[in-house]
Point group: C2
Chain length 340, copies 2
């Protein structure tokens, strides 16, 4: 069978406990015997048995990743794979494994999570979304299971480590950017305010409008279930928007189609700026100006702080803000300032 700690001990003429200590690089062991033991480990291609380690020290070296309730559309959003890629990168570095947890609804999700913790399959969880009154988060909190959330948590805010963008600021930055290009009438499409990210972006949008004293019409704000007629109506207002902010690159595509269908030319008749900077943004016509929120880093940092917390429970709660930046492409254009 595979080579074990015993084989190494025998060949290096030490006790198994000594081998175990060199695996952990314990300072109690002399450099001389460490070297000797390591030579044997190398020679035999030894790798500690993961199940045995887990059983003995009650650590699984494994992270659970909670996806939002499964829905094909959501899954196909590259956001998730990209953040998982970030998590995966750090996990591989730290020798952690990950388990993706999905479920059709909160109940299923919760029961799977419950089973995993009882069975001791993971050391902690990363929650890839955030929403109000999440029973899964309640569970983590009550059971004192380490977890971090990507996004702004809606419960136990100050006590939960999370990594997020400053979406409020991003919301403002986008308005400022458009303002500086001369835009004064700015609409917002795809405001899925059930999700915290979007709520924050919209808050930032509205705050910036107020600060800049821009006029605003409630019809300027559309959710995710708008119809093409809603878009058309927007451009039949006396004061149609000259620019639109889109909640997510994914939504920009159908929106662009809607605009084309009612004969609005981009970017001449309407500038478009979006969020997430997916590769998609670069492929659109015209290429889409988009806010890069560094999804990979969101995942990477979430995994990093979770692992720190797991390895040292006294680790402080952290709120990590990943910087965003606007990536300029051809979908926004300067217009003449118009006092109307």
């Amino acid at each position: 069978m595979a080579v074990t700690i015993k084989d190494i001990a025998k060949r290096a003429n030490v006790a198994t406990s000594t081998v175990s200590r060199v695996i952990q690089d314990s300072p109690k062991i002399s450099e001389a015997t460490k070297a000797r033991v390591r030579k044997e480990m190398k020679a035999l291609g030894y790798e500690p048995n993961y199940s045995a380690q887990s059983l003995a020290n009650r650590m699984t070296q494994s992270l659970g990743i909670i996806m939002p309730e499964a829905d094909v559309t959501i899954f196909q959003n590259p956001f998730f794979l990209e953040s998982i890629r970030g998590i995966s990168e750090l996990s591989n570095e730290k020798n952690f494994t990950m388990a993706i947890v999905t479920g059709r609804d909160d109940t299923e999700l919760l029961s799977r999570v419950r089973m995993m913790t009882r069975a001791n399959r993971v050391d902690g969880f990363i929650v890839l979304y955030s929403k109000p009154e999440d029973p899964v988060v309640d569970f983590f909190h009550n059971e004192k299971i380490p977890y971090t959330v990507i996004g702004k948590p809606q419960q136990y805010v100050s006590e939960t480590t999370h990594v997020d963008n400053d979406n409020f600021q991003a919301g403002k930055d986008v308005v400022t950017y458009l303002y500086e290009l001369g835009h004064r009438r700015i609409a917002y499409v795809g405001a899925d305010t059930a999700r915290t990210v979007h709520k924050e972006r919209v808050r930032g949008y509205q705050a910036a409008l107020a600060e800049l004293n821009l006029e605003w019409d409630s019809r300027y704000l559309l959710g995710t279930s708008y119809t093409n007629e809603d878009i058309a109506a927007l451009f039949q207002l006396d004061t149609p928007p000259t620019a639109m902010i889109v909640g997510d690159d994914i939504i920009a595509l159908p929106l662009q189609r809607a605009l084309q269908q009612i004969g609005i030319r981009l970017p001449e008749q309407c500038s478009l700026i979006s969020y997430n900077n997916l590769t998609l943004a670069d492929m659109m016509n015209p290429p889409l100006t988009s806010v890069d929120i560094d999804i990979f880093k969101l995942g990477y940092q979430a995994a990093k702080s979770l692992i720190e917390k797991i390895q040292d429970p006294k680790e402080m709660t952290k709120h990590i803000i990943v910087p965003h930046r606007i990536v300029e492409r051809a979908s926004c254009t300067r217009i003449n300032e118009d006092p109307s």
Copy 2:
């Protein structure tokens, strides 16, 4: 601490070995004592400790998922997340966990895979891609580690279980579909022939052209690194194509832009049909006719056959073909048959 087999044994007045056997639903135990033991398990919310089980029976209940060498663009292709979703679904059902393995190149991938198998972290692997002379696959084969591949394996074909579409047939079907709409000059764009999937689709394309006696110009076949000029040149031929097949929905987007830029209107001047049927396809303008290859099922079936193989090594090698179907949308149009 967590409740263990001992607690159950005590409360049910049996030996721990008996509890263990009811966990496994062994036929050796009477229904009466099974019922009694189960009642206690339920009452205490018992869940078998996963590390202990793994250690004792040398099974990890965990699958490794090998991604192709990491490259942002590839990762953002929804194909991977969608197949992982399929794998995840089955894994959750079977109580398996998964570990995603990524690496910058084959060497890094191989060393991570090697470490994981030595450390006994997974029972087997799913390879999400297929390419010639893959050292990772060589490793699995030589070490007799269970694995399945999504796609058509290039090595050890008859001995490796794989799940795939019939991409050759799909290649032919697409041509036939266009032929029946009256198209006679059909180009193919985005033929990434380094990847087996695409090679097969191109083979099918060429076979169908030959069968239907359609004229063909070598300039009709473009790889992935075509320029907009190449596209423009295509339409300046004496016999420009009236329809184009695109290797992947993801590529359809920039291609569509290129076509718009040189003033080709879709679908009037050129029909477009693509592969994968991502949600993207439905969002494009015009919505894209695309071959649905049921990515979810590819993942699900791959996980299924891998787990079967793990649980019973005598399980036969299987080649599973997931059916495809053309999803018609507005990007293909009927044209008058033209004898030219």
